[in-house]
């Protein structure tokens, strides 16, 4: 029996949580914030929780057909919350402009005739809030103690790498706080279904590596058994990261494949750790961050010949 992690359900969890989004949104945007370079006017509703909630309401009535509920991506438009997207680097003024006047040469239509400027700013404030990640407000606690727990009692390092050290089966967590929200990290530690951004029905625009970490057991023709997680597969081949920390490639026609129903990731850290230990681990995890490199200097000056 094969399982696929539900990359999108946590969107609902976040939506149900509601308040955490609002908190993030309050921080977001404007000059000085990460990615908030000050081209154009600042959002007049910056820090206004009520306005952000109104923005969420307007968004969910107006934008979901294309962009999905709570910015998860829909059938036509991209996810607005995914941190890696170029849209995420836009200033508040650029978001405002895109909503009000549309984006030329794309399917993004103008909403300026339908929404007042205030409403557009509110939606922009809400979208900005979708983008915050854990590093913007790291969890309180003793991060140094949390690091100890990560490598010892928590056994996290058996599967996860931080700064080049650790096991290879799970995701590299070196920049966890730069890519995930705190609520998502808590979900990952405590809930069987925990991923954040998913396609929500969208057609992916680019081919990207598999991120499902599907556990799998492969029996080769010679009887040798390899366990690990799927890096990729298709109807003709399998690519696996083994629990032996080695890559294994298989011709599908020559092996037997069993998909394990349970993730290798434990989801009871709130029980296997004390409350203080969990708090400290979270403090450590929400500080795992690699700042983006500064923009490359403009070319020129070297000349040719």
């Amino acid at each position: 029996m094969k399982i696929r992690y539900i990359c999108v359900l946590a969107v609902v969890l976040l939506a149900l949580a509601g308040g955490s989004l609002t908190v993030l949104a309050q921080r977001g945007g404007g000059a000085g914030g990460r990615g908030g370079a000050a081209a154009g006017p600042a959002n007049p509703f910056l820090g206004n929780a009520q306005a952000v909630d109104q923005g969420r309401e307007i968004y969910n009535q107006t934008c979901t057909t294309c962009h999905g509920p709570d910015g998860a991506a829909g059938e036509m438009g991209p996810a607005l919350g995914a941190p890696a997207r170029r849209y995420a680097q836009g200033t508040d003024a650029q978001i405002f402009e895109a909503i009000k006047n549309g984006i030329p040469a794309t399917q993004m239509p103008p909403f300026g005739t339908q929404l007042s400027d205030d409403d557009v700013w509110k939606v922009a404030a809400y979208i900005r809030g979708l983008r915050g990640t854990a590093i913007d407000a790291p969890a309180a606690g003793d991060a140094a103690s949390g690091e100890q727990i990560f490598w010892a009692k928590g056994q996290c390092g058996n599967c996860h790498v931080v700064k080049g050290k650790g096991g290879l089966v799970g995701p590299d967590l070196t920049n966890l706080a730069g890519t995930r929200k705190t609520a998502s990290i808590v979900d990952a530690l405590t809930k069987p279904i925990h991923k954040v951004f998913g396609d929500g029905g969208a057609i992916p625009r680019i081919l990207i590596p598999n991120t499902t970490y599907q556990p799998v057991r492969v029996t080769a023709a010679d009887g040798k058994v390899i366990t690990g997680v799927l890096k990729n597969e298709d109807s003709y081949s399998l690519q696996i990261m083994g629990t032996d920390n080695q890559l294994h490639m298989f011709d599908r026609a020559r092996v037997k494949v069993a998909y394990e129903p349970t993730s290798l990731m434990p989801t009871d850290y709130d029980k296997r750790l004390t409350a203080d230990e969990f708090k400290n681990l979270l403090a450590f995890l929400t500080r795992l961050y690699v700042a983006a490199p500064p923009p490359a200097p403009a070319r020129g000056g070297g000349g040719v010949g």
């Binding site: 029996m1 696929r4 969910n60 509920p69 998913g198 929500g200 625009r205 081919l207 109807s235």
Partner: protein, 516 residues
Amino acid sequence: MKRLVLAGLVLCAAAIATAQGDQDLLKPDPSDWVQYSGSYNSHRHSLLNQITPANAATLQGKWTYHMNQQEAIQAVPIVYHGVMYVSQFNRIDAIDARSGNIVWQYQRPPLTRGAQRGTAIYNNKVFVTGADGALVAVDARTGHTVWETKTPAPWRLAGQAPLVAKGKVIVSGNTPSGFIQAYDAETGRHLWTFNTIPQKAGDPGSETWAGDSFKVGGGPVWVSGSYDPEQNAIFYGTGQPGSQWAGEVREGDNLYTDSIVAIDVDTGKIKWHFQNTPHDVHDWDSLEMPVLIDARFQGQPRKLLVQANRNGFYYILDRMNGKFLQGTPFVSKVNWASGLSPEGRPILTPGHEPTVEGSHTCPSTAGATNWPSPAFNPDLNYFFLVAQEGCGLVLRTTNRPGAGGGYLESPKPEEAWQLYVRALDATSGKKIWDYQQISSFHYGPGVLSTAGGLVFAGEHKGQVTALDARTGKSLWHYNTGDLITSSPMSYAIDGQQYIAISSGTNVFAFGLPRTN
């Protein structure tokens, strides 16, 4: 059908200058692929038979063409007399279909990225749409503009491939509500507009919307349709009603959303309609290609229209009048309706409307199938489609009237989404075989049938596979290395049959090793 249609085929570059007209569309040369679906009946069945189950394992790459400065190609290439045309919004590249060499490129500013699904050819012109609502006729030999027009406000064209029928370029769109339009292929003059939903009180269908609730919009048309010259009608699917997750703001059946409509090609007037999903709250567009089949049904020769619908049912209609003849589920789990009434109306089961908590619905909103095209092999009477097994959770964000919503894959492992290429008996709807597209779980490209007895199917993550049309057995595969978001097609030059498919921003052409 069994004759070797390639025999004696001699074409040369000078043939490009041949005027191309109605006959080329009504009875296309099997060496050409002159429109989105290959032929007016939308069979996607090439009459070429050089590639067979016996030799498919020897297929090899012939050329690759990169369409620069673009996102993944969703267009199906068309080929006329050795020239291939591949489109995007505002863009057509003409390629020598033998070598993959570029012949000319048309780029109307601005450079535009978006889901544009193809072009059409007629009388030495190829037609392309712009994201700004422009419709342009370009000289098929040079890429020079012949005429350019703009959809009259407030309409905006969507990305579907134009369909040329009786000298008219048929296009469609979503904004402000669904519509189909015809333009004169020679001049670009606007001829008629058909609105898929009422525009004012008293319009046909307005009685199926509470009050003036048709103002919520809907009925988008973003996929091409089919054409029956004998009936002088085009057949198009229409999309979902506006306020798609919140039916309480538009009580009634909401015509003509989620319907198949037959439109008089001369007047734009509706001849008949069949609504697959009345009062839809699951975003189950009926934009899956309507396929026109002449076949014996229950002992009688009939002119049929068949469609595998996003809602999970395979429909067989009489295309002369739209009468429902039969409807059967083509996926294993359909829980929102217990079946169809004798008139084809779904018999609803309770508990599947979108809720804040999420209601469990099979198929999911992603659909039991979607816009990637099916194919029909008349020799076998098999209908091939991309079927998606699995269920979903359908959500709305609040309980307030008109609230938005969305959908998710069911968290139950046994209901996870999985794509199959599936063969049905076209006139009974019974499943013949399945080919599982491992690791593919959302949409995926459409399929191509060939008289050689093959089905060509792309997989979303880049594999192209040749399947035995009788058994579904995989005979050959090739990893194109990028996402495949459009359907394969086939053409021939100088006795060589080619299979072409877009992958990412490239077009790949495959064929057998040459023996001469």
